[in-house]
């Protein structure tokens, strides 16, 4: 490729410094400026032939400063110069492939980084071959796979770990991979865990008990309860617990333990009340704690404390407040029993979620978002997400079925098209068309850089999606090109809308 680049990384694979000696003799030293663990600017020092402080091209000046604006994953979405003016906007699809800043796909793979080759999750794009250098390994964002196997199995209990070419367990919106060997966004995971735990009981109860919103509903909570002879609350608790456990731990073991715990708490709530309920919660808390590798005593105390608090303690209007109060009570009880606050709080929270909340959710509308504070905000946001599919089913947007294109052709091709109803008479291979209108044969040949002069302009109606988005035509055959062209593969049915003979 020409040129040599040295890389210097700091702790935790953070990018610090690069030195590149280019094939044209210019040496670039790139200093990545960090603060609070974030890389937010790039300072370039440049020496070599042609480098001048008065050069019009910023890339030929001796110093250059760029500020990165990043999204939540650390991907660069905009670059500002020394004055703060935006000089480049960048965008990526969820898997890291470059796309246009307005969100459109780059089907031609023509986008490249102009001011820096850093982009998706701050990794280095090798645009000439369409891959991303993630330090440890090279990643292909088009297929969402690494090009070599991960030498480490991150989590033996998670089946996703055994696809050693997969990128962040196929969850690119939640996680990033700074080293090429996979790591997690722990904070994001914690947030998702809370959301799943809060909403799983209501969701599963809702789809199972409200007259069958969907076939999937019958196959989950309702179907599960019918087939296994358990109550809807227990099935719902199991489903919610399994989801929460899976998200929280990322392991099959966590999902199974979460499912069993959720089902057990819900079952206790189904069968027992008063002090019997307290004893039942203590038993489930003990079993759950032991299953997680903790002690029975602290788990039992946490479960019992949660049950007592929810039955005999003060009750708040807000669901979130009750959840927090139960968790705190369970955490304190765990500490008293010699365990960790975190584990006790978790046990009590499970007890509350998959007992009281599940049973409350039996009656649609009884449990509603509290509407206040951080929890209220969170609940309202998630409620919006859950209601989205229902909104979509009620108002399906209209799609355009046909597209109009022009094709400049010979008389012979026109006859074949009329005869068969297919562009180019159904001949195999790629078909070219355009949205451009040329008034003469010479203009069409010039703009589309055709080897021969066309005789007709035929406007055709074709199925939407048959042709690619337009690409600019390069000069060829002595013609300047500059027009736009679209391509399609396979036989394309077409209805002739207009025919113009070209002079």
């Amino acid at each position: 490729m020409g040129g040599t680049t040295w890389y210097l990384h700091g702790d935790n694979n953070s990018l610090l410094y690069e030195k590149e000696i280019k094939a044209n003799g210019i040496t670039e030293q790139r200093h990545y400026v960090q603060a609070a663990g974030m890389t937010f600017a790039l300072a370039v020092v440049r020496t070599g032939p042609g480098v001048s402080s008065t050069a019009a091209d910023r890339k030929m000046r001796p110093t250059q400063l760029e500020y990165f604006q990043q999204d939540s994953q650390g991907s660069i979405v905009a670059i500002a110069d020394e004055t703060g003016a935006v000089i480049e906007r960048l965008a990526y699809d969820p898997w890291g492939k470059r796309r246009y800043a307005n969100g459109l796909q780059d089907r031609a793979d023509s986008l490249v980084g102009v001011n820096t080759d850093r982009g998706y999750t701050l990794h280095e794009h090798l645009d000439e071959v369409g891959v991303i250098h993630m330090n440890g390994r090279v990643y292909d964002p088009l297929i969402g796979r690494f090009m070599s196997a991960d030498p480490f199995v991150q989590s033996p209990g998670n089946l996703q770990s055994y696809n050693r070419y997969a990128y962040v367990w196929n969850n690119p919106l939640a996680m990033t991979d700074p080293s090429g060997y996979f790591s997690l966004r722990k904070l994001f995971r914690a947030v998702v865990t809370i959301v799943v735990a809060v909403y799983a009981p209501e969701l599963s109860a809702y789809i199972g008990w409200t007259g069958g919103v969907s076939a999937a509903g019958a196959a989950t909570a309702g179907g599960l309860s019918a087939s296994m002879g358990m109550s809807g609350a227990v099935a719902s608790g199991m489903l919610g617990g399994a989801l929460s456990g899976a998200v929280a731990t990322g392991t099959l073991k966590g999902a199974v333990l979460g499912g069993l715990t959720g089902a057990a708490f819900a079952g206790v709530g189904d069968k027992f009340a008063g002090w019997e309920n307290v004893v039942g919660h203590a038993a489930v808390g003990c079993a759950s704690s032991v299953g997680s590798g903790g002690g029975c005593q602290s788990g039992a105390l946490s479960g019992a404390a949660g049950s007592m608090f929810s039955q005999f303690g003060p009750q708040f209007d807000s669901f979130a407040a009750n959840l927090v109060a139960n968790s705190v009570a369970g955490g304190v009880a765990s500490v008293v029993g010699g365990g960790k606050f975190e584990n006790g709080a978790k046990t009590a929270a499970f007890g509350y979620l998959f007992n009281q909340a599940v049973h409350a959710a039996r009656v649609p509308g009884l449990y509603t978002p509290s509407g206040g504070g951080v929890f209220g905000w969170l609940e309202s946001r998630i409620a919006g997400v859950f209601s989205l599919p229902l909104m979509l089913t009620g108002d399906t947007p209209q799609t355009k079925e046909y597209d109009t294109v022009n094709r400049y052709m010979s008389n012979a091709e026109y006859s074949a098209t009329v005869e068969t109803g297919l562009i180019r008479g159904g001949r195999p291979g790629v078909t070219y068309a355009t949205n451009d209108y040329y008034s003469s044969s010479a203009a069409a040949q010039s703009g589309l850089a055709l080897p021969v002069a066309p005789e007709l302009r035929v406007t055709l109606s074709v199925p939407t999606g048959s042709f690619s988005s337009p690409s600019r035509v390069e000069p060829a055959y002595g013609q300047p090109g500059g027009g736009t062209e679209r391509t399609a593969v396979g036989t394309i049915p077409a209805k002739i809308l207009d025919v113009t003979r070209l002079n």
């Binding site: 020409g2 793979d109 369409g130 400049y408 091709e413 180019r424 291979g429 690409s471 035509v473 055959y477």
Partner: protein
């Protein structure tokens, strides 16, 4: 990138001669012998064909492929099918008119 594709086997398709006379849909296999253009984006490649392409009595076994669209031939290395202008004549920038000139596509075989 260009160095990566020298010696690579390719599949060439005469997809759209526009005149509706040239034998459209004809396929050829070949090997890339040389490339020209910027290092990151070759614009011309020379292809040694396994069997020759003819226009009447005029036949060639070495053809030059030029990127037809503004993204050039950069997609070739990624395994994409790229649109090309083909000619038996060489020019460092764009396809010259020749005895054999057709639009087509190229991909790694």
């Amino acid at each position: 990138m260009g160095r990566l594709i020298i010696g690579a086997a390719v599949f060439l398709e005469i997809t759209d001669p526009w005149d509706f006379v040239t034998n459209n849909g004809d396929n050829r296999e070949g090997v890339i012998q040389q490339f020209w253009g910027p290092k990151k984006c070759p614009t011309v490649v020379a292809i040694k064909l396994m069997s020759s392409v003819c226009n009447g009595d005029f036949c060639i076994s070495l053809v030059y492929a030029y990127g037809r669209h503004s993204d050039g031939l950069v997609g070739l290395v990624r395994g994409n099918t790229v649109s090309c202008n083909f000619s038996e004549k060489f020019d460092a920038i764009s396809a010259p008119a020749g005895e054999i000139a057709f639009l087509g596509s190229l991909r790694l075989n």
